[in-house]
């Protein structure tokens, strides 16, 4: 089961956007004007509406904005059901989700049709949008009450992820949760998805604190002195790959300008030797890899940076790894399209930005069974 479903709020009290929820509740119960909820993706706009509606016993009539092209298409989708009374005599809320996808401007196309609809219906209409300040919505905006759903900060997301790891009994360290939150820039849905991916594939290591201490001492020797043994990292139980990431992450915090360029040149050569070892299994190259990433970096500096630097762990491997998993969905799609269009998966992936919009088409989604397409 998707955790985004499993951990979806069930009661109003569980909603995270507290102030916004209050305001929305009030506006629905004292409905006067269409409500436009806006804010970045994955911060609970749709979830809040659904939760409120079910607790107030409203039926939601959901319309995807990309289906709104003109008056006729709106009537096809919404028109009839507005006239029908609900099966269980519930009141209805019309939810027009992801308004950003609607076509046209205030004078034609979907937006115009939508404005007409707002004027004609008696049912409460709630719309969601990422960017309501787009010029095409200027007329529409004036007809609505706006509620902003702010993007979550990293701490909110981290602690929410933390509560999931507790319930799922996962051993994932706080740092990783923080990385996931940071990576998703306030998108809780994406963060939960990433957590689920991480939990299903990766065991987290527990000796992180110890590692950090070790790395700290070695890095200090390399960055703050010139008397460095070429085997500096051999004294520790860090493996060489990890060591390299520590150096890489913190080098620009200590060096700058020409020193930084020189040091990175050494580190880049160390990486080349690493590649050569892998390719040819010629282990004597290890000597050069070690020397380049310790001694050569230590002597690359003209002066020693006198400031204390709190060395950070490198997070890009985790980030790139999560991104790779995320894009594996894209690869699956590309395979289908490649076969159909007589070309290679690689080529489709390369051209993905050009065809992305095409793949949003409903009929194309059906044709290639792309239901679980990437977000």
């Amino acid at each position: 089961m998707m955790w985004t479903e499993k951990y979806k709020p069930k009661k109003i009290t569980e909603l995270l956007q507290v102030e916004q929820t209050k305001s929305l509740l009030y506006q629905i119960e004292n409905y006067k004007k269409p409500i436009l909820i806006y804010g970045p993706t994955g911060n609970g706009k749709t979830t809040t509406i659904h939760t409120i509606a079910s607790s107030l016993n409203y039926e939601i009539l959901e319309v995807n904005a990309s289906d709104i092209r003109n008056t006729e298409s709106i009537n096809n989708i919404i028109g009839n059901s507005i006239r029908q009374s609900s099966l269980f005599n519930k009141s209805k809320i019309i939810l027009i989700d992801e308004l950003d996808g609607v076509s046209g401007n205030a004078d034609r196309g979907g937006v115009l049709a939508l404005i007409k609809l707002l004027d004609e219906t008696n049912f409460p209409i709630i719309m969601t949008a990422n960017d309501p300040w787009d010029s095409k919505f200027s007329t529409l905006r004036k007809k609505c009450n706006l509620i902003e759903f702010k993007k979550y900060n990293d701490e909110t997301i981290t602690s929410f992820l933390g509560s999931i790891t507790k319930k799922e009994d996962l051993k994932i360290n706080y740092e990783t949760l923080k990385e996931i939150a940071n990576l998703n820039k306030g998108d809780l849905r994406a963060s939960i998805n990433d957590l689920q991916i991480v939990s299903s594939t990766k065991e987290s290591s527990l000796d992180d604190r110890k590692k950090k201490e070790t790395a700290f001492n070695v890095l200090k020797n390399i960055f703050k002195t010139r008397e460095v043994s070429t085997y500096e990292f051999d004294k520790t139980d860090l493996n060489l790959d990890e060591a390299m990431l520590w150096v890489d992450e913190n080098l620009p915090l200590e060096y700058s300008g020409i020193d930084l360029a020189k040091a990175y040149d050494a580190l880049s050569k160390a990486d080349v030797f690493k590649g050569r070892i892998r390719k040819w299994q010629y282990w004597r190259f290890l000597i050069y890899q070690h020397a380049l990433m310790t001694y050569n970096i230590a002597v690359a500096k003209k002066e020693i940076n006198p400031n204390f630097i709190n060395y950070k762990r490198n997070s890009r491997i985790l980030k790139l790894w999560i991104a790779k998993l995320r894009f594996s969905k894209r690869k699956e799609i590309a395979e289908k399209i490649a076969k159909y269009t007589h070309t290679s998966t690689k080529r489709i992936i390369k051209d993905y930005p050009y065809i992305k919009k095409i793949l949003n088409d409903k009929e194309i989604i059906q044709k290639f069974e792309l239901e679980n397409k990437e977000p």
């Binding site: 998966t345 949003n360 409903k362």
Partner: protein
Amino acid sequence: MNDIWTEKYRPSSFDEIIGQEKVVERLRSFVKQKNIPHLLLSGPAGTGKTTLSLVIAKELYGKDWRQNFLELNASDARGIDIIRGEVKSFARTKAIGTDLPKIIYLDECDALTKEAQQALRRTMELYTSTARFILSCNLSSKIIDPIQSRCAVFRFKPLEKKDVENVIKNIAKDEKLVIDDRTIDLIFEMSEGDIRRVINILQSCASIDKKISESVVCEIVSAAKPKEIRQVLEMSIGGNFIKARDILLNVMLDHGLSGMEMIKQIQKEIINLNTKDEIKARLIEKCGEIEFRMVEGSDEFLQLEALLASFSIIK
């Protein structure tokens, strides 16, 4: 039913093909004489290599073409052994409904290593009595001589402007699109003569609005070429390494791009910088050096960081 236009508008006979007149003429005469040698089609992406191969099959075998035509992609197939296996089981039997040999179309052959190409050469010889090979590649220089000498080589050129214009106008008529000449020019420029890209851009635009405007074309094309690359370049040259590295990583994460793709885009963007030509020349040289190390090394991102760090001292 909506379809992917690159397929919907793929020509299915010689007469429908726009451009590549010389190649078409010679291939047409091969088909007419019902005597096809092995072919090597070389040229940039989206110039009609696959389309012409499909047309040859359709014209030769008529409705039975699917049974007599095997399509393989060297860059997706996992190794030459898989390719050999498929070729073997396909070429073992005679063609259906005809006395002609079957056709095996192997796309993107430049993805094969030299050793794999040697193996391919032997496979080609082994099945010459029952099958003809059509190989396609972007650069014929990457194909070993023994294969080249066994094939009739055809070189495909990027599509000319008038051809691209024709294709766009035909589709526009059929799909009831509104498009003006300036927008057509823009799509042509962005496509680099690659007709698949032209049609993909066109369909993407049409999915937003039947009236194709320059701004929508730009929006779609810029998604393929993140504008942050310029920012990364300017920041690293200005010495703001940490910020440049953050943006670079984010671009890679958001767009799912590899380090190799990033360095290609950086190299292309250098030429657009507002700086002295000598500096651009040195920046490009540095790019080349780092791309080489990327191929040799193991950590693409680390190599990109070394590139950014080196940019700040090129003056």
